[in-house]
Symmetry: C2
């Protein structure tokens, strides 16, 4: 198995990415880790490299804040495009990047140039691990697909259920919930109301609507929403978090013992434990690591990615989609015309 | 001026509501406060009442977790319906309730029975005060209108701008932003992309798109979104907050000094300071206080509500809508057909 790492992507690239790759290569000894990026910058960081780490040169970099479309088009030799190209050509099974999210997702999903969708998949989506009171759940889609139809959300439920079992093998039949503003089936906009019905008939372990504040209570294992809403919800978590931490770090400044306790507790929330957020539904394994990833997060991403490849994540997704009820698989045939999704 | 208070709504009703009403009646001495609810339960709590507090009997209560539509229809003598009825009949200028949100909003906006919309208003919406690093902003709509069109969001921008100046009279020209998943005008779903254009031509002080985590940074004074998204964003704030607090209260258990500092800091986040969330755009002033409101929150709600009535909030809203550019006021005439809001 070969895992390509975008060595130039992320706030701490290339130093922390390379360190993490070396650590990850030790954790996943059956994998060859391909560091993609400027060899002149990567080589000096590889003094103590295991045998299963190699370099693939890429002369360009899409910056973190660069317009993704422009970056992709204008930089054919960027580390992100070269990494994705390795997967497309069959020279790698997976790609991990802590770089520009839009460029990674766009590069993987754009028609013709991208990796292409798995058999039966309508729209790829991003699953994000979210910590809960008693473990973890997956929120999907976190931003790949801004305008969803019920069939897309149904497929996210299937893909999310397959994914979460790699993080929590103890779950025999993950509970799927629909993110909504209330629990009753009549709540929400037209999209979620129509999707509720599709979920009920899908054969999934559907436990109903869930409100965001209950998501953290561990009431569901897979929480499904459209990419616009999912992205806003995640950024709201992040914003609330930062806001509170700023407030607390001020008041705890003179209390070192308390500060230490708080820092320790926050490690529980550390997303780096879970190996990043996969873009599910494409041919190949594509992992978005957080932009702030340090070596440990990258090493964990390699470990988890190796499990996805080893455990044939994508085969399970394709099989999962086929297992959807007949109604679930073809529910978009029965959809009301698009304008019924609008305000009556 | 007469302000009706739903004495039976909220987690701490009627005791804290009545206490808050007495306190509020002292703060707003030009107002008469009408306590609406079961007089047998309210009367004993009124030992020390100021002259400007009266009781209006209502024999029923819509419970906090009751289905709003059923509660409204089945309980014509509920404290919420009687309170709204006082406004409708012109016997009160405003109503404040910490009770069932759906029943309050539904009762105020339902066709025929409700209060009716202000001149020019297409859809009423809920504005919620959100604390920021350096003050406060208004998020609107927080859940009244789940399926919005650009013209609704435009009107929310106007109504939110009028509202926030009652909380922050220092703002000459509030900055309006559109809640989105990125700052570029091309970001987001069709609704926000179309709305961006409408905002640019509206004559408002439009500062562009804002991401949720930047909302807390005080980059805008009015943050506009549809009611589905706004409600989810608020519930995500609440959920993240609760999640972190649970985590921290565990680790700080043995550090009383730190606990005290944290509690103090969190008071900064206390929404009760801002007098609740107004439903803007209806004939009359309707304030939703948080379900957990105690006396202080209710007293503040009365104080702020009195300012709205005294300061003719609704007249300013109607005038503000008239000041929208010609394009802004009639932008829905130029809208693409509804199905263009769907996935291409």
């Amino acid at each position: 198995m070969r895992i390509a790492i975008d060595a130039m992507g992320g706030d701490h690239a290339p130093e922390e990415i390379v360190r993490g790759a070396i650590e990850g290569a030790r954790l996943a000894s059956d994998a060859t880790v391909l560091l993609v990026g400027d060899e002149k910058r990567i080589e000096p960081l590889l003094a103590d490299r295991p045998a299963n780490v190699e370099i693939r040169h890429a002369s360009q970099v899409v910056a973190m804040d660069e317009d993704p479309a422009r970056g992709l088009r204008g930089k054919p030799d960027s580390s992100i495009r070269v990494s994705l190209g390795l997967v497309k050509k069959g020279e790698a099974d997976a790609v991990i990047s802590a770089g520009n999210t839009g460029a990674l997702v766009g590069g993987a999903t754009v028609p013709l140039l991208g990796l292409g969708s798995l058999e039966g998949v309508k729209r790829p989506g991003i699953a994000v691990p979210v910590p809960t009171d008693d473990g973890i759940c997956a929120l999907m889609d976190a931003g790949a697909n801004k305008s969803c139809k019920p069939i897309h959300l149904l497929q996210y439920a299937v893909m999310g259920s397959v994914y979460i079992r790699y993080l929590r093998p103890d779950l025999p039949n993950p509970r799927v919930a629909l993110l909504n503003i209330g629990e009753e089936r009549t709540k929400g906009n037209e999209l979620v109301r129509e999707t509720y019905e599709a979920f009920e008939k899908s054969g999934l372990n559907f436990v109903g609507n869930i409100e965001p504040h209950k998501m953290f209570g561990g009431k569901a294992d897979v929480v499904v929403t459209d990419g616009f809403t999912g992205n806003l919800v995640l950024k709201t978590c992040e914003g609330t978090n930062q806001f509170l931490m700023k407030l607390l770090s001020g008041v705890l400044k003179s209390l070192p013992e308390a500060q230490k306790a708080v820092t320790g507790a926050l490690e529980k929330l550390d997303f780096s434990e879970y190996g990043g957020a996969p873009l599910l539904g494409v041919r190949g394994v594509v992992i978005k690591a957080h932009g702030r990833s340090k070596a440990r997060a990258i090493a964990n991403a390699i470990r988890v990615t190796a499990e996805f490849v080893r455990g044939e994540l994508n085969r399970h997704i394709v099989e999962g989609l086929k297992k959807l009820s007949w109604w679930g698989r073809f529910s978009d045939w029965f959809r009301k015309p698009a304008d019924s999704l609008e305000n009556p």
